[in-house]
């Protein structure tokens, strides 16, 4: 199998982590509670760390060094799904995105812990505790606010309805899907989506929220092939501003 398929998989996972990590870090100092500000910032830091680990694997496969991959590419070379690049909105939207995305992320890495590609399997086993916290945090908040007051329920419901088409975009298939599955590297986006739906339903059922009908929800695709919303390039510019001033600087 060519490295192209493997690289495509690594890039999309790494870019999801970097872009959402950066987005979530925008809450640092603005969180709704001091303790939550710390928790959300820590998880954002974890995500950026995951992306760095994945870019390091890519570098070992012949790609540029991690900092160059993170900071020197234009938006149309990023493979993240559009969900992670959307602006933070209010905290209800950020929480719903955190819940929808991190549920998929935790299942993805759980699947990858059985990967035939050892660097990925090892990384997945290493970060499983972090992902356990991320999903515990998301599930607890969704259960709390999803059955609290009329305002919290209606806000979360509105954000859930808005985010869902983008969340389905996480599972946009790659042209290499078959190869990746046959090589035992990853069981594929379809399988991931199946498990994700089950888990999301399980949590939503414990709240007063209702999950829109997934059969008639049209996924927003494009991110995996570099076709992004207008929100990604400004994010990339802001994220890489300091790095680009002096790319050779040692930190």
């Amino acid at each position: 199998m060519s490295n192209l398929a493997l690289k495509e998989l690594l890039y999309k996972i790494a870019d999801d982590q970097l872009i959402l990590g950066h987005r979530n870090s925008e809450w640092t100092g603005f969180g709704p509670l001091l303790e939550e500000d710390i928790a959300f910032s820590s998880m954002a830091q974890d995500k950026v760390g995951h992306s760095q680990a994945m870019y390091t694997i890519l570098h070992q496969l012949g790609e540029q060094v991690p900092d160059t991959l993170a900071f020197m590419r234009p938006a149309n070379q990023f493979h993240n799904c559009i969900l992670v690049e959307l602006p933070n909105g209010e905290y209800d939207f950020s929480l719903i995105r955190h819940f929808l995305f991190d549920t998929s992320e935790a299942i993805r890495f759980e699947m990858l812990s059985q990967s035939s590609y050892q660097p990925l399997a090892e990384l997945s086993r290493k970060i499983r505790g972090e992902l356990r916290y991320h999903t515990l945090h998301a599930n607890t908040w969704i259960k709390q606010l999803g059955s609290a007051t009329e305002e919290s329920i209606s806000r979360l419901q509105k954000s859930l309805n808005e985010a869902l088409p983008y969340a389905l975009g996480i599972f946009e298939e790659s042209p290499f899907e078959k190869k990746i599955i046959e090589a035992g590297i990853f069981e594929g986006e379809k399988e991931l989506q199946k498990r994700w739906v089950k888990k999301v339903e399980e949590i939503i059922q414990q709240t007063n929220l209702s999950l829109p009908d997934l059969k008639i929800t049209i996924p927003v695709f494009g991110g995996r092939t570099g076709k992004h919303s207008e929100h990604l390039q400004p994010l990339v510019d802001e994220m890489s501003e300091v790095f680009r001033i002096d790319p050779g600087a040692e930190w």
Binding site: E35, S42, G129, R132, L136, T140, Q144
Partner: protein, 206 residues
């Protein structure tokens, strides 16, 4: 708004500051006490308190607030209202001397966790558990079983009121020892500053 932080400039206008109404007094979450086990086999120690709407939320918020830096193998939280506190002692008096002997046979016995404050200004540390019907009785049982001679303050907490970390959840702290980047010392700021200053002096001498 005009800030060097682009996030601040993006914030929505939040009305006229003169129109902001004060919150009602005490309109805030209750507090929860946080206990941390720094190493496998070591006793849990009290780390501090935080505000939260309920026990489970307190657990997830305590995890990052209290265990994101130093070594940790486990964590638990309890509603402050469920911590039964012994009388406070003066000077070298043992707090257990102020604990009354209580025996209550009316209710079923359950498990209570007992904590001692051995040095003023330090943390309460878990010393063991006892069976009793009430927190008062638990303290009285501890007086016989766990009395260490000079204890400044004693806490007793019903084990059922505690949100413990499950065995599965212990993996939450797997990568913590690697997160050196959370320590300011890891950036070696002082060293970098001195080498920068040295370089500047050399350059100005040229």
């Amino acid at each position: 708004m005009n800030s060097l932080d682009p996030r601040v400039n993006r914030l929505p206008e939040i009305g006229n500051p003169q129109n902001i109404q004060d919150k009602e007094q005490l309109d805030q979450f209750g507090t929860f006490e946080v206990f941390v086990q720094p190493k496998e086999g070591k006793p849990f120690q009290h780390e501090g308190a935080l505000h939260a709407p309920n026990l489970e939320m307190a657990y997830i918020l305590a995890k990052e607030t209290f265990t994101r830096r130093f070594t940790c193998t486990s964590l638990y939280v309890v509603d402050t209202r469920n911590v039964y506190v012994s009388p406070i002692t003066e000077r070298d008096q043992n707090a257990y001397d102020l604990v009354e002997n209580v025996s209550d046979q009316s209710k079923e016995k359950r498990s209570f966790e007992i904590y001692h404050l051995l040095k003023r200004g330090k943390q309460h540390v878990h010393v063991g558990s006892v069976k009793a019907s009430t927190p008062q009785e638990a303290m009285s049982v501890a007086k016989n079983q766990l009395n260490a001679g000079k204890v400044f303050n004693i806490w007793s907490v019903a084990s059922n009121d505690i949100r413990f970390t499950s065995d599965e959840e212990k993996e939450l702290w797997l990568t913590l020892p690697e997160k050196k980047f959370r320590d300011a010392a890891d950036y070696k700021g002082g060293e970098k500053l001195s080498s920068f200053l040295e370089r500047r002096i050399k350059e100005s001498n040229v």
